[in-house]
Symmetry: C2
Subunit: 455 residues, 2 copies
């Protein structure tokens, strides 16, 4: 039956791509309140899609934030049950002038589909929906039972999903959670992500006088909030890019030589990456390789900074406020709550006189690592290898899917991170895209996987 399923996917490809475009057209940006309606629209789109392919009881379910979409299709209780998790929300699109085509007008160029959400994560969610459609259409005895949980707040840290999962743990009961929200480590290389960094962040608002001031009249006399903010932000790291926040590294076990050797095997071409990014040097925490720094070491990055005059030319103002947005990627066993607490203390301890500082925490996520010798992970590798004809790489991802650690904890089953993106697909940046070769090969891989799970 597997062969018919795969043939069906090939036959329906054009129609499927049109449907994917419809999904990508919905500007379901979760972090901006003006897109609230669009997130609902995306949820309803997924619900309708599930119903169309045979999940007759699919429904949009409320949470304390944006709704989730849930559906299930049970064939035979004795067969394995797969819970597919993904998200319909996307990142903001600014700076929008750097996009070569409109972020919500999907465009196919050079066998890649360009749009916000193309790879993260609508494109990958859509692949699951289409494989399920194909299986249910072609096979009267599907190999597994399907459950689907698609949320709308992943890009803002899934603040409401843990509560939802706890309250609906019975509904979500499965033998494994399957997530396609990550990337192959390089073109054509099967990749299973067995660890993810966690996330913790704060916004720092520095306030000075009650109004902008003339820099000639008051400059030199009144503390400039930009100077204060810059001093605080620069105090986060030393000259070797070690983070100076107290306890930041406290709970992280030293990397074993074995782990370092394994990470040294991860394919990485420094010259190629520098060329691709257009930078003269790569730099980061001293004493660790690029691969280590971007996967198993924690980071602190300023995602945005602003204050004062941003127009063309000059405005001799002494501004009265300045803001920085800071997020940390965390590794086991850093605790997001403790890190936010320490960041906050650090900011207050480094605050210059003459300004006030507010610190607002962002939503947080725990880091996650899972053993990769579990049968459901080994079967995922086998499925990949059948299609891609290469050995699977097991990696720890630099990014964060905070809900993964939570689903693992609440449902107590393995979470399989089987992604089909590529690292250079500009997720979270202008010109996000998804390679259609992985759209095709990915759906074939998922088909193999579902059948393998029942062997």
């Amino acid at each position: 039956m597997k062969e018919q399923v795969i043939q069906y996917l090939k036959d329906q490809r054009d129609r499927h791509l049109k449907e994917l475009e419809d999904f990508l057209k919905i500007p379901s940006i979760s972090s901006l309140s003006e897109h609230r309606e669009d997130t609902i629209k995306a949820a309803e789109w997924v619900e309708a899609e599930l119903k169309k392919i045979g999940f007759h009881d699919a429904k949009v379910m409320e949470t304390d934030g944006k709704p989730v979409v849930y559906g299930e299709y049970t064939t035979d209780e004795s067969k394995p049950t797969v819970l597919v998790y993904g998200h319909y929300d996307v990142q903001p699109v600014d700076p929008v002038h750097l996009w070569d085509s409109e972020p919500f007008e999907p465009t196919i160029r050079d066998n890649k589909i360009y749009a916000r959400g193309a790879t993260d994560d609508k494109g990958q969610v859509f692949m699951h929906l289409k494989v399920m459609e194909a299986v249910l259409n072609q096979d009267e005895e599907p190999p597994v039972n399907f459950k689907v949980l698609i949320e709308g707040e992943e890009e803002i840290g899934s603040p409401n999903l843990p509560k939802f999962a706890e309250e609906n743990a019975d509904l979500l009961k499965a033998d494994l959670v399957l997530v396609s929200d990550s990337a192959l480590i390089e073109k054509g290389k099967p990749t299973i992500t067995y660890g993810l960094r966690g996330l913790a962040g704060i916004q720092i608002d520095v306030k000075g006088a009650n109004s902008d001031l003339h820099s000639g009249e008051y400059g030199g006399g009144v503390v400039n909030p930009i100077h204060a903010l810059v001093k605080i932000v620069d105090s986060f790291r030393d000259e070797n890019n070690r983070i100076l926040v107290d306890d930041f590294y406290r709970d992280i076990p030293e990397l074993s030589q074995e782990e370092r050797d394994a990470l040294a095997e991860v394919p990485f071409d420094e010259d190629q990456l520098k060329k691709e990014l257009g930078v003269s040097e790569l730099d980061g925490e001293e004493g660790y390789s690029y691969v280590e720094r971007t996967s198993v070491r924690p980071t602190l990055e300023v995602n945005g900074i602003y204050g004062g005059f941003q127009g063309e030319g000059i405005k001799t103002v002494l501004p009265n406020e300045a803001t920085a947005k800071v997020t940390c990627r965390l590794v086991p066993d850093q605790d997001p709550d403790h890190i936010v607490e320490q960041l906050t203390k650090h900011v207050h301890a480094n605050k210059p006189v003459g300004v006030e500082v507010d610190v607002t925490p962002f939503d947080k996520g725990k880091p996650y690592v899972t053993p990769f010798d579990h049968p459901v992970i080994q079967k995922a590798a086998k499925a990949y290898e059948t299609v891609y004809q290469k050995d699977t790489a097991y990696i720890r991802g630099g990014g964060s899917i905070p809900i993964v650690a939570e689903l693992d904890r609440i449902l107590d089953v393995p979470v399989v991170l089987m992604g089909f993106g590529l690292p250079d697909e500009n997720l979270h940046a202008p010109n996000e895209h998804f390679h259609l070769e992985n759209f095709d090969q990915g759906m074939e891989t998922l088909t193999h996987y579902f059948y393998l799970l029942n062997e």
Copy 2:
């Protein structure tokens, strides 16, 4: 005749205020190219106004930038000739949401007129025009010959006026230059500014990768331009707020005890100022008083900073560029060209690896100090004292009117800085306003001054 002139100004006050509102309605922002037409409109408004009051040959004259308005009214070559300088251009208005009324819809509240340009400098330019109108209307033998030069690029550093003044030095020939573009040191206190700080500035653009990156995938591995910018900006000053740019203080003579004593006499109420500004502390260069720091010491202020995500909430991006706008206020004998050169060197010397940095200089102005025992300055003090009934304070202003040093050099006559603003009138900030008591008393003072100049 003086009395009739003053009576005329009182009689015509309502009409004059309506005319001032028309002038203030023109959004003649010189730093923003989209307001180019508005600056021309403002120039033409001044030209028409001059013609109306009797300067029949008044004209808009081209420069390499925005035009200047020139007019003259010569009664008697043996009488003193006053060249009144001012500017019709204004600062940008952002952040516009902090204005209580529209910046270009002048509103009178509590005997103050609120609008961008109300005090800096349209309101003060307008006072001169109305005093001239009154003199020419009431006195067949005006006490002085008038020349008027109103430019449109003061707020961007008067880049084209020095060349214009050099080429038109004969036309502009006068016995003194009179400028009302400064403030009384406090309510009701006559104030002559005998020195001004100069100006030098740069924009720092830090560039990283060719696109924004995902902070999870690349964070810790690729240099974040915000981190680089923050390091550069924080390197400008030490913990005592001394500027660390090489040669920054090299050409500044030590303050004499006599000067320090005089500055200690300047009325200054620290608690009052803190309360007014809403700040808990005032801080700045160690070893100098607030008054010294804001008038006779040089400063380096970041006027704006920006990079990465500025929206609501969180976006886990590693941005690819970050910018800071920096201006210095200079004191004798700092040389703006040398300071810009040193700032640029400092930025490059403190640039971290992995990013590129562009430095763009802004237009510059030399600092200025003039002897205040010159008769035309002493007569200005007498005019003030006649109306305000208080002794005159002689101060060095913290702000910069770069063209003042240039006019002094090119025309080789004293420049009298006789301002009628107040320090808390929010110039360059939201809710700029002008106290109408100084509109009235200022015009009376100017009237006395013109008659005193002929005694």
